[in-house]
């Protein structure tokens, strides 16, 4: 079974020591997770549950303090690529150069990288915007470029860290539908972090529900809504049942003005 897994995590733990109080904080406690090849899996939970931390560990931006993560090695290219929460585009680069960035990092020449970036610019719906600078794009278009940048390195697994959190409601829904279209075309494994229940249910094959303090997995729910899904799905009883089920799992955890720890 092992070779069909894009990612498997065993007993992952992330411990911080609070600088002021010297107390230990468990951002992640004993997280197990298996993501099959080609699956769309969401990590869902309140802030402070460690979902973004987990993603950063997979990406290599942070190192866990215990446990092990295996990424299915790919023949060529990268195992993983990150789509960031803020579009995080380089403001002095055009869209094309931003999308080509990961390829340049991997050693491609600038012109070759630009050429290889082009199909991904088209795929995310930014055709004709290649020469624009990020400030000339709307928030939704910036996120499209952010997504194209991660797609362009042709990694086996796409890590998405609340990529639509800062968009307005309409744009967010549109981008959710767009993401499914692109996912369908690009055939990637996706690990998607969000705190929005409807977003997780709509997009995912499986929703991993997490809780905070300490950050841990409390449920793993398979979403049996047939694909392709359109936004109308959100108004079906089945969809709302899932929402209800998950809301009950995490609803009790939201505290007003929980001053501490961000994820």
């Amino acid at each position: 079974m092992e070779r069909h897994l894009a990612l498997s995590a065993r007993g992952v733990q992330m411990e911080y020591r609070d600088r002021q109080s010297g107390r230990r904080l468990l951002a992640l406690e004993n997280v197990d997770l298996e993501v099959p090849d080609g699956a769309f899996v969401s990590l869902l939970g309140p802030s402070g549950c460690g979902k973004s931390t987990f993603l950063k560990i997979v990406n290599g931006l942070l190192r866990q303090t215990a446990g092990e993560i295996k990424l299915h090695r790919v023949a060529k290219g990268r195992e993983d690529a990150m789509v960031f929460q803020d579009a995080s585009l380089f403001p002095w680069y055009t869209v094309t150069d931003n999308v080509a960035y990961g390829l340049v990092c991997a050693g491609a020449s600038r012109s070759a990288a630009r050429e290889r970036a082009q199909p991904y610019i088209d795929l995310v719906g930014l055709k004709g915007f290649g020469d624009k600078y990020p400030y000339q794009l709307s928030g939704g278009m910036q996120q499209r470029a952010n997504l194209a940048r991660a797609l362009a390195v042709d990694a086996a697994i796409l890590l998405m860290d609340e990529p639509f959190a800062s968009l307005d409601a309409q744009t967010r829904e549109l981008m959710q539908a767009e993401l499914l279209r692109i996912w369908n075309a690009a055939r990637k494994t996706v690990l998607f972090v969000t705190h929005q229940i409807d977003e997780a249910v709509f997009l995912s094959d499986r929703v991993i529900v997490m809780a905070a303090r300490p950050g841990r997995v409390i449920a793993d729910i398979t979403i049996e809504i047939p694909r392709p899904r359109t936004l109308e799905v959100k108004r079906t009883p089945k969809f709302q049942e899932y929402e209800e089920q998950i809301w009950k799992l995490i609803g009790g955890q939201y505290e007003p003005a929980a001053g501490a720890t961000a994820s």
Binding site: G60, S88, F90, P91, Y101, V104, A106, V153
Partner: protein, 285 residues
């Protein structure tokens, strides 16, 4: 008809076609008014000098300054002075930039280097550099080398402090992007650290313009060998023979040079930041 009294009617603003001269003025209002301000100042100066309100002996008058300037530009000594001052300024500034930018990038980037260098940067920045001139003269003599060193010291720390500050404030989340895509160190510098720091470097250079110009003058006053600074100094010594005309000409020349340099750096700033929204927009009101 009395019902209309119940409404306050907001009328559309009808754009009337105005006289071409009025339209030309509206388009160039800023330039016209600032030109008026400059011309007005010199006019008042001239009138005040002619009326005896302003003492010509010390402050000269625009007409006399222009006449002195005309005399000067026909004098080969003036061009030699200008060449020497210009060369000091150019070489001193160029070395200052060549040293401060790479060093600033390194000090900003390497945390430990930053900790070690920070006190010295503060020290060097706080130090009144003119006080060092005697030491510089002892080691470098009274020639052009000493003046270049003074100009260099005038600019180098200002630009370096700004560069360090720029690197320290490079956006964290863009650094995460670079690291996430495993950017090699060299690429992190060229794609992120340098473009992110450039605005700081340029504003450091803008502040440095005044300081390197001051460096030229102070060094030339001290060395008394060659240069526009020497011309100013000597002219001021002969003020009873109308030297203040020439002195004022030299001062205005330096001021003009300062403005030109300042504007050139500003232009470079806009060019390097063409990716930034709204910088090239003129005010419309």
């Amino acid at each position: 008809m009395t019902e209309t009294a119940a409404f306050r009617v907001i009328h559309a603003r009808v754009r009337r076609r105005r006289h071409p001269l009025v339209r030309w003025y509206r388009r160039n209002e800023r330039a016209v008014l600032s030109a008026t301000g400059i011309v007005g100042f010199f006019l008042l100066w001239q009138i005040g000098a002619d009326a005896g309100v302003i003492d010509k002996l010390f402050f000269s008058s625009p007409a006399a300054i222009a006449a002195a300037g005309w005399q000067e530009v026909q004098n080969p000594r003036f061009w030699e002075d200008a060449r020497v001052s210009g060369w000091e300024l150019f070489v001193g500034s160029a070395i200052a930039i060549a040293v401060s930018v790479p060093l600033g990038l390194l000090i900003g980037w390497y945390r430990r280097l930053n900790y070690a260098a920070d006190p010295w940067l503060n020290f060097a920045n706080a130090l009144p550099r003119a006080a060092l001139i005697p030491i510089i003269v002892l080691t470098a003599g009274l020639g052009i080398e000493m003046k270049i060193v003074v100009v260099f010291l005038g600019g180098v720390f200002t630009i370096m402090v700004a560069t360090v500050e720029g690197v320290r404030t490079v956006e964290r989340h863009l650094l995460d992007v670079a690291r996430s895509f495993r950017a090699p160190q060299r690429l992190i510098f060229t794609s992120l650290v340098i473009p992110g720091t450039l605005p700081f470097i340029v504003s450091g250079m803008r502040i440095a313009v005044g300081r390197v110009l001051a460096g030229v003058i102070i060094a030339e006053f001290y060395a008394q060998t060659q240069g526009i600074g020497v011309m100013i100094y000597k002219a001021s010594n002969s003020f009873l023979q109308g030297g203040s005309d020439r002195m004022m000409f030299g001062i205005l020349l330096f001021t003009l040079l300062g403005i030109v340099l300042y504007e050139t750096v500003g232009y470079a700033e806009r060019y390097f930041q063409r990716w930034r929204p709204g910088l090239d927009l003129e005010e419309t009101t």
